[in-house]
Structures are given as structure tokens and as C-alpha cells.
Symmetry: C2
Subunit: 159 residues, 2 copies
Amino acid sequence: MINNTNVEKLLINYKTLEQFKRFKEYGNQELSMMEDLQNNIVENNSESPFYGIYFGHNLIARMSLYRMKAKYDNYFSPAQDYLELWKLEVLPDYRGQGYGKIMVDFAKSFQLPIKTNPRINSHGFWEKMGFQKAQYEMERDLGQNPLIWLPEGVSEKDV
Amino acid sequence: MINNTNVEKLLINYKTLEQFKRFKEYGNQELSMMEDLQNNIVENNSESPFYGIYFGHNLIARMSLYRMKAKYDNYFSPAQDYLELWKLEVLPDYRGQGYGKIMVDFAKSFQLPIKTNPRINSHGFWEKMGFQKAQYEMERDLGQNPLIWLPEGVSEKDV
């Protein structure tokens, strides 16, 4: 039963970075944030591209969202600012309870088109969320399987 | 025991596309190739970005390689043409027998820098192949964990 679940912007600090280690898609991005914090290149509690949901003191879901500029838009028509979404992940004990949908609904609330490159086997989830396969264009997509979400009035760019 | 193993450029035809279905990373790219073939947008036996190894009549390993133009190079110094490598995969029954290394050595034989974005848990393999973590740069790398290979005289671009 989910009540009063808030999606929060996550700040870069040792506590958050420690919690990130529980997520499977912990990678270069997190290691780089840790190094920047240790070397005082970023201040404690500076903004991160991550959003997440806390259950008590535990971070149980997270994703990165980054606003791409219209001039780099190769996916939508008309060309416009859009969101890249990556590393959407809910910890195993909390799956199947709607947290993934809360995260995606949060991303949609910006009313910008969204592009993601999902992990293998998560296509069923993304379809339920209203995402569709983008046409594959090798020079643009390389090893990706891009999925896109179109808000009203936006269509896919023809490739 | 591997003797006379050749890495071949794979042509787009129904037989190859059928064999691709055995690989875990079958995705938009392969589906798009199938549609193009069915709709006569590409001719039978036209070139693909895939290379592979056959064992008898079976394709047992494959990868995509694509030459990126120097003007899009954000990873290497001096900026130059480089190879994007993706979907390197050896079928389960043939792993641990050196086929992955044969594929990577083939990619290296072009004597261009290589960039890849490996799947989680394959870092040990890439390290053995002489690849190193690229510095993470969010605007450039988004959800990727880029690894690079530097031929002699090439270094990583400072970000």
C-alpha cells in the first residue's frame, strides 16, 4: 500500500552514495560522483541528476533524468528539449508495488518527451508505461534499443 | 582448441538473422534489419555492421563495429576516427575458449581507438583485453559506463 510517496531530488553526499551501492546499475557515474566529493570538486549536498524514493531511511528506488537541449534532439518532432532517463531501478524487496510507475509518472510530469534505453527484459514494463520503440537508426543508436514517450502534440522524428 | 578461426563480416540475409535470435542482446537493431530485408529496403546479402565466428554452420560469436568520424570523437586525443564496439557476445556453450578474445583482437587489428559500453559484470574480461575505464562525463555518457582501448600514440581526451 503506497501512501504519500514522494519522489525526491537526490543530493550528492556520502550517505546517498553509500545507498547507491545497493543498486545493480552502480557504475562509472556513481564512482565519479564519489571521487568528485572526496576531492572537493563538488560540494557536499550539491545537486545530482538522480531522483529517488525513500522508505523510512532507505532509498528503495532511483533514476537519473537529464534534460537534453533541442539542438541535440534527434528523436522528436518538432525538435525540442527532452529528457533522457536512465538507471530506473527499484530494489528487489520493493518491486511489484507501483514504485516504478511512480518514478516514471514523475518523469512524465515535466511534460517533455522522454527517451530511455532499457535493460533487456524490461520492455513489458515500459510498454505499460506508454513507451514505444523508436525506429532504429544505427549511426544514432549504435547498441541501444531506444524507447520513447510522446506527450500530446509530439511525434517521433522520421529517420 | 581453436584452430583456423576466422572472424567474418556478416551479411544481412534470413539465415544470419535467424542465427542472431540465439543471442541475448537481440534487439531493435536486428528487428530493423529484418524489416528492411522483408520490405526490400536492403538487398539480400548486403553488408551489416556485424562480425562473427562460425563453428560449422553455427554462428557462435558476434559483435557490431562501427567507425565513428573524427569530428564526433569526444573520447580520444588527438581526435580521430574510432570504432564503437557493441553486442560482443559468445554463445554459452562456447564461452571460456578464447572466442571473445579473437573477436576483440580482430577489432584491435584496425589500429583505431575503440570505445565500448559493456554490460554489467563483464569488466573483468575487458580489463584483460587491455581496455580501461573512460572518465565519466554526464552530458556525454548519460547511462553508459564507457570503456576505451588506446592504440600506441593515442591518449584519452581530458574532460
